[in-house]
């Protein structure tokens, strides 16, 4: 059986490789100038006073894609909550406090606030500079978990009431959808960025609905990552199976 798999892999891989290499040779050369959609996106972004074109594409021009992406994250978190729930034959055992070296602990506690603030800053400036809801959200959520290193698991659990994060994850998705639906109620297309003034170019409030959608995504990503990590940590640290089952 194993031999069959290797044969399949060799033939299939060689065939696909040949196809891909032939396709690469037909591609326009790396670094070419032909980007019609990209050029249009830059124009559209400038017309709506959004300095960071990528944010404009993500939260304005192709905001519907971002809705799908947000839903993927939402669904994956819900899926992990369901898949990593405590099964009937498992129980929780409080973990023994782990010994963490003092320098590590100091370092973690020092970095934690810096990382948190960086995350929030990156979220807030999404429409201006590189960064935005996704990046900032992940940074902030991961930063919170430095507490696991810096203090211990108990401390982490206290500042991390999971239910609140799960709710805020869902509320952020609701907020994004409601912002989209508002424009339908106003008689335009779903997720149309026409209700709010576009503001002054290169300021925090520029871009119409972009900062709001960006903030909703930031909130969603941060809470989602916290919930994800929490469930994996729970499995790794707390949940134990009954012996002899």
């Amino acid at each position: 059986m194993n031999r069959l798999r290797l044969w399949l892999l060799a033939v299939g891989g060689a065939g696909l490789a040949a196809l891909l290499v032939a396709a690469c040779l037909d591609l326009p050369g790396f670094g070419g100038r032909h980007h019609p959609y990209g050029d249009r996106a830059v124009q559209a972004s400038l017309a709506r006073h959004t300095a960071n074109t990528i944010s404009s594409v993500n939260f304005d021009q192709r905001a519907y894609d971002t809705l799908g992406e947000m839903s993927i994250l939402f669904a994956a978190v819900l899926g992990c909550v369901v898949l990593l729930r405590q099964a009937r034959d498992e129980h929780r055992a409080p973990p023994e406090p782990a010994e963490v070296a003092r320098p590590v602990r100091r370092y973690a506690l020092l970095v934690l606030p810096v990382a948190l603030v960086t995350g929030l800053y990156v979220v807030a400036h999404g429409q201006l500079s590189p960064g935005g809801g996704f990046q900032g959200g992940v940074v902030a959520a991961t930063a919170l978990h430095l507490l696991y290193l810096g203090a211990d698991y108990g401390a982490l659990e206290r500042v991390r009431p999971l239910g609140v994060y799960e709710t805020s994850d869902a509320v952020a998705v609701c907020a994004y959808l409601v912002l989209g639906l508002a424009s339908v109620l106003a008689g335009t297309a779903f997720l149309a960025n026409t209700l709010l003034p576009y503001g002054t170019f290169n300021t925090l409030s520029s871009g119409g609905a972009v900062p709001l959608l960006n903030a909703a995504v930031g909130m969603e990503v941060a809470s989602a990552v916290v919930v994800l990590l929490a469930h994996f940590l729970d499995q790794a640290v707390e949940i134990e199976e009954e012996h002899g089952s």
Binding site: V138, F232, E241, H243
Partner: protein, 86 residues
């Protein structure tokens, strides 16, 4: 100059992707993946995509390897406690 830099980073990415696949121990693979994530972040920055680089840095070199490590730890702990029970 920029081209030379791109070539170097691309080859490094290819090499570390190979290493990530060749490393059959999942805990070590997580470390290699984290390195690969950092390299990709560098590549994206060189390709003038700082946004993507930033999120690759956060996701690829921190979050994904962390999840893999936690998963490995759970499986190992499980294996140990089963052996203790015997």
């Amino acid at each position: 100059m920029a081209d030379a830099l791109i070539v170097v980073v691309l080859l490094l990415v290819a090499a570390s992707a190979t290493a990530a696949v060749a490393q059959r121990d999942p805990a070590r693979q997580a470390l290699v993946l984290s390195f690969l994530g950092t390299l990709l972040a560098a590549l994206f920055t060189v390709l003038q995509a700082p946004d993507v680089g930033l999120s690759q840095l956060a996701v690829g070199s921190a979050l994904t390897p962390l999840l893999i490590m936690l998963c490995v730890r759970k499986i190992r702990r499980r294996g140990r406690s089963k052996e203790d029970a015997r």
